[in-house]
Each structure stands twice: as structure tokens, then as C-alpha cells.
Amino acid sequence: MPRRPFLKSLMTAAATGTMIALCAPSFASGGVASEVRFNNGRFEPSQLVVPANAPFAVRVTNADKAAIEFESFELHRERVVRPGETITVLMAPVAPGSYKFFDDFHREVAEGAIVAK
């Protein structure tokens, strides 16, 4: 593969990454980042309410002893969260409705839902 397009892609990605990094705090401070905590084999809270038709973020903290996989088929998101780690999952605007999420590593755990209003 030619080197220049690769470098160009990397530079574009770095610029995108910087933009995302700059935007992430605004999700946290602008009131559109919701928080969910996984502890003792369950998501708390099990339901998050977010604004419909607007981008939002979900901060997922894994306070349990084993890794989890925060997954939503309907929202097309899949992220591994190691024990003690907090991640930010960026979500594109969604239509009003209820969207399930679950821990794909432990499917027996109760599901949660993101409700867009």
C-alpha cells in the first residue's frame, strides 16, 4: 500500500480524534451525556432518558470484577469495558423510542433501555 495515502488517513483520523476529544467534555457538561454503572451484575439505572433527534453520549462505568461488553443491536454499539474502567459511547441522533442495551458477555443479566424523547 502506498505510504502517502496511509499518512493522509492517519492525519485525518488524528484530526477527527482531536475533534471528538474536544466534543466529549461538552457532552458531559452540556447535559446530554447520560451515565450508567454496571455493578453486582446489573446496570444502574436500567433506563436512561435522552433527547431524541440529537447526538448524545453514554458514559459506562464497570464497577464489577469482570469485563463487560456494553452492546445495543438497535443503536449499533458494541464496547468492551474492563473492570474499573469508564468509557464514553458516542451516539448519533435517534428517533423517539426505546432502545435496548445489554452486557453481551453475560446475557443472563437484565437488559437496560435508552429512551429517546
Partner: protein
């Protein structure tokens, strides 16, 4: 021996009745298709798209029960796990894109994808060693690009 004709008749009736239980073998709209160099995209398209996209070429047996039930269930589950027709949605969250790429790499490298039973019936889905290397090269390139986007 007298039971055989009755058993055969029961099977025929059951298969006939099964044809009335139908699932919607349809293709939803493509929201944001995968972008990749044409050679790699062609490989992914012919090896993966029947199950992992909204552009499924439903085979003839997907219209005959009970094979149709299995095919429908397989495609729905495959689309949930990875859908190239929703790829741009994955890229909105670089962590999700990285996860999808990592899983693709693992399954293609190991030969677990496409599944053997699918390769058995679909010759065009078979990937040669060179095909796998080409796809893996693209995945590794995308992984480097995505890693730079991660906070």
C-alpha cells in the same frame, strides 16, 4: 413395515403445512454502506454481504420451509452482530468501529468466517489465502486509522 407409508404421509403433510409459516425475507434500506478499496470491498461483498448486510441475495432454499426458517434466523442474527449497511453508524463511535474491526480480524484470520456450511453451498464466498491477506491488510490499515481517533 405398514407404518412407513403413514410416516411418509405425515412428513409430507407436515412439510406442506410448514410452507404456510413464512418469515419476511426482505432487505431493509442501506443506511451507510462500508467504504473500502474496490478489490477488498468486492471480497467482503461476495464472502460476507449475504448475511452481514441489507443486500442479501436470498437463495432459492430461503423460500422453502424449514430451510427458510434457518436462513431467516441466521441472517437476522448476523445483521445484529455486524451489518455493513450500517457501517457509517459504527464509525460515529470510534470505540465501536475498533471493536467491529477487531472481531472481523479474529474471525477472518481464524477461518471461522465465512462459516464452513455457508462456504459449502456458496463457492463464491470462499476466500483464498491471498483473499484473506488482502482483507486483513485493509482491516489492519483501518485499525491504525481508528486507533488515532480514540480518545
Amino acid at each position: 413395515m405398514r407404518g412407513w407409508p403413514a410416516a411418509m404421509a405425515a412428513i409430507v403433510v407436515a412439510l406442506g403445512a410448514a410452507q404456510f409459516v413464512r418469515f419476511p425475507a426482505t432487505n431493509p434500506p442501506v443506511n451507510g454502506d462500508l467504504t473500502a478499496p474496490s478489490g477488498v470491498k468486492d471480497l467482503i461483498r461476495r464472502a460476507c454481504y449475504d448475511c452481514h448486510s441489507n443486500e442479501t441475495a436470498w437463495p432459492w432454499y430461503s423460500r422453502v420451509a424449514p430451510a427458510s426458517w434457518l436462513a431467516y434466523r441466521h441472517v437476522i442474527q448476523a445483521r445484529e452482530r455486524l451489518n455493513f449497511s450500517d457501517w457509517t453508524d459504527y464509525t460515529y463511535d470510534p470505540g465501536t468501529e475498533a471493536r467491529k474491526l477487531a472481531e472481523m480480524a479474529k474471525l477472518i484470520r481464524s477461518g471461522a468466517m465465512p462459516p464452513w456450511y455457508y462456504r459449502l453451498m456458496h463457492r463464491r464466498a470462499r476466500l483464498t489465502g491471498a483473499d484473506r491477506e488482502a482483507v486483513m491488510g485493509w482491516i489492519e490499515h483501518e485499525q491504525a486509522v481508528t486507533a488515532a481517533k480514540l480518545p
